[in-house]
Symmetry: C2
Subunit: 238 residues, 2 copies
DNA sequence: TCTTTGACGTTAGCGCACGAACATCCTTCC
DNA sequence: GGAAGGATGTTCGTGCGCTAACGTCAAAGA
């Protein structure tokens, strides 16, 4: 398939191929890489590991996080099944270290591929190469948006805009009801993602809930009303 | 040139080609894109513009920034001469808006290329394609590090680690003296990059200067002693 | 030389987010 | 059914960073 067919979107038939790289772009396990099992809360890589390999989550859920000097953990990204992981090894595969943690949130199966093997595969598969480029572009956009969110100083702003981003990226829309989406995330993890204390997350979430912008209960999924929340956050300007 | 020759670094002869995409990868202006002049402090794009084109800085210096709801500006990235700009258009070129500002810091000449033209060029130039991939990878790493920095709550930590990143990325090393590097940046811009107030930046910089970790004076370049600063920041853990 | 401009320095008061500690409620496992 | 663990709720004191305002100093232009 030609590159411009994949990347230029004015051809409607190819819209569906405008997607990031997934396990579907890869050959069967065994032909390239090996399958590795990780128990819940086990580390796939640690800060001092070399970034000389790339991963694909076959089953489960992985979190990429950073531990600051005080030991507080900051969630950088969530990686779901079929998604790639550790793609930063393309920057300088020689002697670059990870500097971050990748941790299996639940029991997970992960395909591990050596960087050089992956590069050889990309050489012969231009569709995979373009999909990888798209993945990088998407993740760069998400990372810059994370930076924007963390730049907000107020709790309502920071947490509210984080909920907006999470809702747009990972929220499950309700059937035939545009607006509210469902998220499976607890206050503890929101705190690690927004760089706030868990207690303050609970207080701030309570305020947003009182205003009807979100709804949640103990051990129940979180429902975010995206349009209302966005309008509320933009209204606070005046 | 073959893809694995460029991306695999165990061949020392190709180390120099392990670089991001620059103007040198592109054909002459006129064959692809057009040259546009921007005065100091003029905008190359605004939040409501479509992201349907990619840019290269030919001369000058461009800042990508984000304006929060209160009008405070947050610097996302600095783009120097020869570097690309606006590469996020690869995510969804159709109807995505920029959401950010790109502003010429000084008088700048910028090559403007339509996204579809750029894609066509990449199709016939695999070296440029790989270089673009490398650029994305590098910028993703930088963006995640920006997020880490903004997640720090204390002023000394946030500003100190920002200085470390800036020094490693853009600092000019001193001849035959490893350690100190020179940066050309003022307190005002540091404040916009670290999401702090200018006054607080001045106070915090004063403390770092008293400790001998950095040195600067009015209208003089900033000198950061990278190893000492890093040791200081990591020592504060205990 | 005088003024203007921009960059750095300083202070006071205030609001907010954090840490710590404890309370409440639900779920799961024994 | 009881116990243990996890998740959410609540409060208080403290520290820190923001806003605002003003001061100081050097370079550039008239």
């Amino acid at each position: 398939m030609m590159l411009n067919q994949l990347l230029v979107a004015d051809d409607h038939r190819t819209c569906q191929t405008l997607t990031g790289i997934t396990l579907q772009h890869m050959p069967d396990v065994g032909a390239l890489g090996r399958l590795q099992h990780y128990g819940s809360s086990s580390d796939i890589w640690r800060p001092e590991d070399e970034s000389d390999r790339v991963f694909f989550v076959k089953r489960g859920h992985v979190t990429v996080l950073f531990a600051d000097a005080q030991g507080h953990e900051i969630v950088l990204r969530q990686v779901e099944a079929d998604q790639p992981l550790g793609e930063l090894c393309f920057c300088a595969p020689e002697h670059r270290l990870r500097e971050t943690f990748a941790r299996a949130q639940v029991e997970s199966d992960v395909v591990v591929i050596k960087h050089s093997d992956f590069v050889n595969y990309l050489q012969s598969n231009s569709a995979a190469l373009q999909a990888l480029l798209f993945t990088f572009c998407t993740r760069l956009g998400e990372a810059e948006r994370r930076a924007e969110i963390l730049a907000y100083r107020g709790a309502e702003e920071r947490l509210g805009r984080l909920l907006l981003q999470l809702g747009e990226a990972r929220g499950h829309p309700h059937k035939a009801t545009p607006g509210p989406v469902t998220l499976h995330i607890g206050h503890e993890e929101l705190a690690r993602t927004a760089a706030m204390s868990r207690a303050h997350v609970t207080v701030t979430m309570g305020k947003l809930r009182e205003q009807g912008l979100i709804s949640y209960e103990r051990n129940r999924p979180l429902i975010v009303n995206l349009p209302q929340l966005e309008a509320y956050l933009n209204k606070r300007v005046a």
